[in-house]
Symmetry: C2
Subunit: 432 residues, 2 copies
């Protein structure tokens, strides 16, 4: 058993340019951490339970830069069809989100409701409807009623506030099978003042998502805000880059929802010179946006439907980025690997199987595997396992899997969770 | 509710050239249905329980034509590395299969045992070791002991017989988490006699497979035999074509094992002219081989780990074959779809989600979905559902899902099963 511990664990490269390197650190305030942002969460009536918030509004004090990324699912919902071109135009006043109904597979009638709801918000806020972004999450295939917007939107506008409590209400109002609200915020300096003097900027946000679906429900929705003065291209670029390695590297059940949407509002309220893609301040604010997205992404995996463990999968030394991603997702999506983690089973054979089937190019005689920091396979051959030590490590909330393919230098990290009886119960229960 | 029933169900084209069209029908005898084939299953000691058969031998009366297809998993097992070139050579005497140990991730030592086991069988049968094909299924990463072969192979040779009982013993000896032995056989006429007079030929076989893995176990293994006088190229071609649309269209958990192997022995004992790829008799025997493979493939899906339902997914009117396959597999591998079936939930929204994320090209406004023969979605919009009728249909053992993409004429069929608590229990139990 001793020799397993003298073998060095697989080295996982720390990507350069993380937000910490740029002086960003976590702060309070969630989606309201950024100046110039107000939020609200109210009960509008999409859900029957009057104690459940079901309408969230995140508004900028003035029209500001925005960006968005959306589901690639061809059965995409009406709000996605409405918001995609509006986000691409790069300027928005507010984001209106409801839970309880996904407004998906609802045809022309669903489009009309999505458009009408944005008109109601535009009237209440005094801006053109094209500057309202909309998002929905909930049941698929049921018409979204317009009535709850008629009373809910004015109520939300009336309670808009720039406080941690208002941010939390908005985060709560989009929850479906989520067991907790998921918020994050960071603050740090950008050289935006005269002669590059540092100005403190904030990035905050919330996300919802637990499975593709609650019994018949859909979606991951995310709102990120910053007071940094990004231009539209920089906002789009930074959001796209952040989503690519964070939300797009989370998998609970391999299922892509019909409603996935991530929004970024950049109010510029921090002041200072506008940040373009080539600006000196761009790498730092991009890192901060990525940092908030990564924190929220990990929260989704940890709160995956029925999950008891957050699982981080690292694949290193792959031949290409595509190979690294394919191998990492093959492990993270393998029901057998996920069940083994639920069962506290140090079953590296299933991890080997998953990378082997992934299509990534490698020689099994060059493959190494670590489980929870313990080397379990070297050069394709198993090492003796201290089962008691493995069981002790399985007590952790976070389980790390690392695989080295010995085929190059590309690497990929994916977050997932275990597969449990509770997942089957949640998703096998007959709709009520 | 009425109008759901006046809408015609999706039409699923019956592929031309099925074995019934060629006069083939099921018969008894399993892998021994073909003349010139003997089989045996014995307890050799790979498993501790002496009542469990764990070594199977399928032998031709004389060296004969063979073919094989093997896992594409890069962590492929030693017996796959040994058998692949031997099958490609096109001539074999026997197939030796053990359960209880997969001989995977076992390095050079595992290769030596695989080679030595084939030498023992060659000595006992009086043929060169290159004419022995080997296969293993069971624990990954544990050295396969040679000792059980020393006594087990002579015992198996001594009990070789051409009987349904011997065929059944062989089928039982390769079972792992399988809850039943899986055998099939068909008989039919081929125009092989003088002036094309019909000669009766047989195709039989067995398969094992239930998940990628039992706690730490691997594999699908299949042996098909026929007494039709195929030449090596025709045997290879017919097996490859059959596997492509049968075993390669089954998914229990999307995981590809390290040991998957399918073998075909063609003894030629039926007599008559040799069948080449271009022979008049080729389409009929190819259809018969495909028919046996399809029967065995459906048995795997129905006996998937923890399964309560066999699920058949048909995607029709896709733009390309690749799109049809991608959409069918996306549905069949969706944990949310599979949990819904377990929960008797007519949750077509998850089916729409799965085809939408599959990458297949289509317009949601042209998409139709049927569940258990009931139209539930037409032109992207839901139809009223008679929930009581759906619950009645969920009593069936076989659940059919049909999706029309309205984008072309390609179609694909995939078999799978539901995802249950029992699957999590089987694969989450700590290894004992």
């Amino acid at each position: 058993m001793e020799n397993a511990h003298v073998i060095a664990p697989i080295e996982i490269p720390t990507p350069a340019g993380g937000m910490e390197e740029h002086g960003f650190a976590p702060c309070d305030g969630g989606v309201c951490a950024a100046r110039g942002v107000r939020a609200a969460g109210v009960h509008a009536g999409f859900r029957r339970d009057p104690s459940r918030l079901d309408l969230a509004l995140v508004a900028a004090d003035a029209p500001c830069v925005c960006a968005g990324t959306f589901t690639t699912n061809r059965f995409c919902a009406a709000p996605v069809l409405v918001s995609r071109p509006r986000a691409a135009a790069g300027r928005a006043c507010a984001i209106l989100l409801n839970s309880g109904n996904a407004n998906a597979a609802t045809g022309d009638a669903g489009m009309e409701v999505a458009l009408a709801s944005s008109q109601i918000a535009a009237d209440a806020l005094g801006c053109p409807p094209e500057q309202i972004l909309v998002a929905s999450t909930g049941v698929i295939g049921t018409q979204l009623p317009l009535d709850p917007f008629e009373e809910g939107v004015p109520a939300a506008v009336a309670s808009l506030a720039s406080s941690p409590e208002a941010a939390h209400d908005a985060a709560c109002a989009v929850m479906t099978t989520d067991t907790c609200a998921k918020e994050a915020a960071v603050a740090g300096p950008l050289p935006l003042g005269a002669d590059g003097a540092p100005v403190t900027v904030h990035v905050g946000g919330f996300v919802k998502g637990s499975g593709m679906i609650q019994p018949n429900m859909a979606t991951m929705l995310c709102v990120i805000t910053t007071d940094a003065p990004l231009d539209a291209e920089a906002a789009h670029e930074a959001l796209l880059a952040a989503v690519k390695t964070t939300f797009n590297h989370v998998t609970v059940d391999s299922d892509t929802s019909t409603n996935d949407s991530t929004f970024l509002l950049a109010t510029g309220a921090a002041g200072g010179e506008t940040i373009a893609c080539g600006s000196p301040a761009y790498p730092a604010i991009a890192a901060a946006i990525r940092g908030v997205c990564e924190t929220l992404a990990r929260m989704i995996a940890a709160d995956g439907e029925g999950a008891t463990k957050l699982v981080t999968v690292d694949v290193v030394n792959a031949s290409t980025q595509a190979d690294a991603d394919a191998a990492a997702f093959a492990i993270a999506n393998s029901p057998l690997v996920k069940c083994a983690i639920f069962g506290r089973d140090a079953n590296w054979g299933r991890i080997a199987m998953a990378v082997g089937k992934s299509g990534a190019a490698f020689d099994q005689r060059a493959c190494d595997i670590d489980l929870m920091g313990v080397p379990v396979l070297r050069a394709g051959l198993p090492l003796p396992l201290d089962e008691d030590e493995m069981l002790r490590r399985f007590e952790r909330d976070c389980i790390d899997i690392a695989v080295s393919l010995g085929a190059g230098s590309a690497c990929s990290r994916v977050w997932t969770c275990d597969l449990t009886h509770e997942y089957v119960t949640i998703n096998g229960d007959y709709r009520t």
